[in-house]
Symmetry: C2
Subunit: 559 residues, 2 copies
């Protein structure tokens, strides 16, 4: 059998015009702002027509702890959306939008896979509707206004050594991680150390994704802390009077982007913050709109459930007043065997022992969802050809012991039809009535106790240790009035612990918090347990070398 590449499958699909997709969810044409024939932004004034309409069911797709074997979370999300349509339900998908930078590195693209993709995949992976560029421009306008303020006399008494605001670009460019700028003499700025992050790591991205409307956006932007004065007082974006112009740059980026799956299910692809230093899920505006327009809104969160689902629930749902009806936890037999110690080269062989050893990773995520957050869950096994019946049966048995069903998902190979079983179980969970959703911690706890709650309840650590510097920052943040905001953990995604080498469900470890940083605009404290890379580099042979476009405008090499 010849296997088609993702881009070949995507380009072979005849898309519906975006106005047809909008019609499926009854969007009044006056709110549609087309970007070509297959992409549109939806004017937020649509909210006036929808606000009294009841919400659909919110379904979160999350996953086990990621391994190099892959899980297929986005693919499952897209396939579940199509699967729900396949069984006659009015579903809408809400996903993160991919960053341009990694497309040119090793990644190639990110819009699902196989027969469960969102399209037009080339556009989604390249400039799409310009949101990333708008975020970059707003970020860099603030940086330019900050440095200009210092250069023009520094009336706010900003300490150039205490500037926390970095510049950004949507590119994998290690050369920009650490720079010295303002060089070249008096007329060319004020020399200082600086650096670039990739755009998705900008706080503006987190702010955009958590803002409910333009008014909220401006208020959040104004609160962003850009640095500190010589006497250590915070200096904000509002002090620099930058929030109005930044919001003007972001007004269209705030509008959700409508596209479609290969099976023409409406899909919002909007916002994509980092899942370590930020909360890692698509925008509040897109999720809320999808909930009003569909009976089922299927959305995903970044990394494994310890990071992505925790933040989705404790940060996004809390801030936006959302309540999920069901959670899908995606796993592959291959990845579970890796958690059980099998190297990547030997994953195609049945290995029940390794699977049994790796299963606690899945089971711990399941229990976190059902017992800590008290939400109904289903495990979706993303099927691979080498999975054996004995392996699948073992996964099912262990999950059933926790009261959770398993659905085999074949959406990569079969699209929505391959998601029928999963869709039916999701519907059953959603219709089984109200749940007792709880956050994993109370906002009014001291910062240290919130860190402990996440580390003990979700990671299953014995304790949390704050290094001396973090202890000091903890007090400073509480003194500045930031004691009662949610915590955004920046921890390795490769382990429940803060050590990427500890696979499975590690026990007897402590979490070490090295740094606490306030993202005052986003409204959370970032707790760093190690170094987080906020500017990737390109590999020896960047995928950019293979990307091309022919004379007719057709792109190749994206996958």
């Amino acid at each position: 059998m010849e296997i088609k590449s993702d881009i070949e499958i995507a380009q072979a699909t005849k898309m519906d015009h975006v106005t047809e997709i909008a019609k499926k969810v009854s969007i009044d044409p006056k709110y549609i702002e087309q970007y070509g024939n297959y992409k549109a932004k939806i004017d937020l004034n649509i909210w006036n027509d929808l606000k009294d309409k009841p919400n659909g069911k919110l379904v979160l797709v999350t996953a086990i702890t990621p391994t190099p074997a892959g899980e297929g979370k986005t693919t499952t999300t897209v396939g579940l959306g199509d699967g729900l349509r396949y069984i006659g339900k009015k579903s809408v998908v809400a996903l993160r939008e991919p960053s341009l930078g990694p497309v040119f590195g090793v990644k190639g693209g990110a819009a699902g896979g196989g027969y469960a993709q969102v399209v037009p995949m080339e556009d989604i992976n390249l400039h799409f509707t310009g949101d990333m560029h708008a975020i970059g421009a707003a970020n860099n306008l603030l940086a330019a206004m900050l440095d200009n303020h210092i250069w023009q006399g520094n009336a706010l008494n900003i300490d150039p050594r205490r500037i926390t605001w970095r510049r950004c670009v949507d590119m994998n460019d290690r050369q920009l991680r650490n720079i010295a700028d303002g060089l070249g003499g008096r007329t060319n700025g004020f020399p200082r150390e600086d650096g670039y992050d990739i755009t998705v790591a900008s706080e503006i991205m987190a702010v955009l994704c958590l803002s409910s409307d333009i008014t909220d956006l401006k208020a959040r932007l104004a609160r962003i802390i850009v640095g500190y004065t010589y006497d250590e007082k915070p200096v904000t974006c509002g002090d620099l009077k930058a929030q109005g112009a930044m919001a003007a740059l972001l007004k269209d980026a705030l509008k959700p982007n409508l596209v479609q799956t290969l099976e023409h299910t409406p899909a919002f692809i909007h916002g994509g913050p980092f899942a370590n230093i930020a909360h890692g899920c698509n925008s509040v505006t897109a999720t809320k709109l999808a909930l009003k327009l569909g009976d089922y809104c299927v959305t995903e969160a970044g990394f494994g459930a310890d990071l992505g689902a925790e933040k989705f629930l404790d940060i996004k749902c809390r801030m936006a007043g959302l309540k999920p009806s069901a959670v899908v936890i995606v796993a592959t037999v291959r990845a579970l065997k890796m958690h059980g110690g099998v190297p990547k080269t030997e994953l195609n062989t049945e290995n029940l022992e390794a699977l049994e050893k790796g299963l606690p990773n899945l089971l711990q995520h399941v229990e976190n969802i059902t017992k800590v957050f008290k939400l109904p869950a289903v495990v979706a096994i993303n099927a691979f050809p080498f999975d054996t019946k004995a392996e699948l049966d073992l996964v099912e048995k262990r999950c059933n012991e926790l009261g959770v069903n398993v659905a085999l998902s074949e959406v990569w190979a079969k699209g929505g039809a391959g998601g029928e079983a999963l869709a039916k179980e999701v519907v059953r969970l959603c219709e089984s009535g109200e749940n007792n959703f709880e956050f994993s911690y109370d906002l009014n706890l001291p910062i240290k106790e919130k860190l402990e709650a996440i580390s003990k309840k979700i990671y299953h650590a014995d304790s949390v240790e704050l290094v001396a510097n973090a202890v000091k920052q903890c007090k400073q943040l509480e003194d500045l009035g930031f004691g009662n905001v949610p915590i955004c953990m920046a921890k390795t995604q490769y382990s429940f612990s803060d050590d990427p080498a500890k696979l499975g469900a590690p026990k007897n470890f402590k979490v070490t918090v090295r740094n606490l940083k306030i993202s005052a605009g986003a409204g959370f404290i970032v707790a760093l347990t190690g170094d987080v890379m906020t500017m990737p580099g390109l590999p020896k042979v960047p995928s950019a070398e293979k990307i091309d476009v022919d004379a007719s405008g057709k792109i190749s090499g994206l996958f």
Copy 2:
């Protein structure tokens, strides 16, 4: 009388849907890619339908040497487009697209003025259809691939001290003019000196504007020189295999953007290269499309006619095979009085003596057009309320002595109706038959002689002097095979000479060329007569502080 601001006039206008604008020039709907309701990109495959259609008349709008009094070149271009429609002619306007950066500085915006504007002005001045961001991304992808190549082992033997490719951002940010990047140790790049230009100064912008299609674009991108090896051989974008991915980023940016004037005349706003280090006019794709779609294509070139018109004619028209039918030279009585020595504060008083003294600036531009380039010309006097009849009569008399008519343009105050006289004279010139258009120099002349031709024939200098370094560069460029490309002069726009203090029509001066640099992708040699600022800074109170957007998405403070 209450004077409305430009943005107030623009926002008070009811725009036609962009599909209605496209219909006016018979664009098949299948080629329209909407960006919202009032902007569209036109698919270049339209060319297959149009290539055998005869061209309309090409009308270039240029101006006297700019002064702080202003000339209103864009306003006149827009108003002439509307004026031609007013007298029943099928006109299309083709303009440069404004850069985002300066919007936040002092400038506020650039889309014409008064009742001669292009709309939607907020969009045009902010992200528009994303062309600037695409250019920035392509520029910075090349930079990232270049630095990554060095970091990964430097197989091409690139000398990090001889890199000529700079990064760019569409922002006024003096802090980035000179930086050191790659700092922070071995894993974070290779330390070197670097710097940022504003995006419109990127060679990618010039390349995009001169490319006829995707194939030409890729070939030009591949030829771009990014630096030199340790043994001084040029290293190109093609050596880094970056042109395919860059072209993929630019494929939509290459498509002309269709908008409208306040009077619903179709207007292409596409591409905006610097007019000093580049050629300063809108894209070849837009101009050629406008010529196929309209009976009259009205376009403009940057700065005064010595720079903008010269480059439009010697570079753009030569490369694209275009031939103008008429040239409009815009002047104001106020600016001519400034050229005659009157300070800005005293321009509202009649001063025939100063006007007589300043008039040679206009007359020399007129003679350059009619006698060097052998093109029919008209002088458009952009009317101001304090202009006196005696002053206007004097301008007319002196122009008539050169065989050129003068038309009073009141388009700022009256829109197309105020451009009737100008439109009629333009039509008369276009219909008076073929002209004897000539370039100001032959491509096969040695570089030095091309510099002399421009300096003597257009600037009226006595001679050209190359400093020692430029003499060396001249030989190097000829040795590298770049002897027979056009010259792009980077000279002050404030004087015919290379000294911005010399107003009017200076005599007895020499032009000093300090640097010669090849833009191998664009296909011209940049001759620098002094320092050119390629990264502006923000003023003490940036206009960004006043820009805002309200809860409904309406932008204010752009003017």
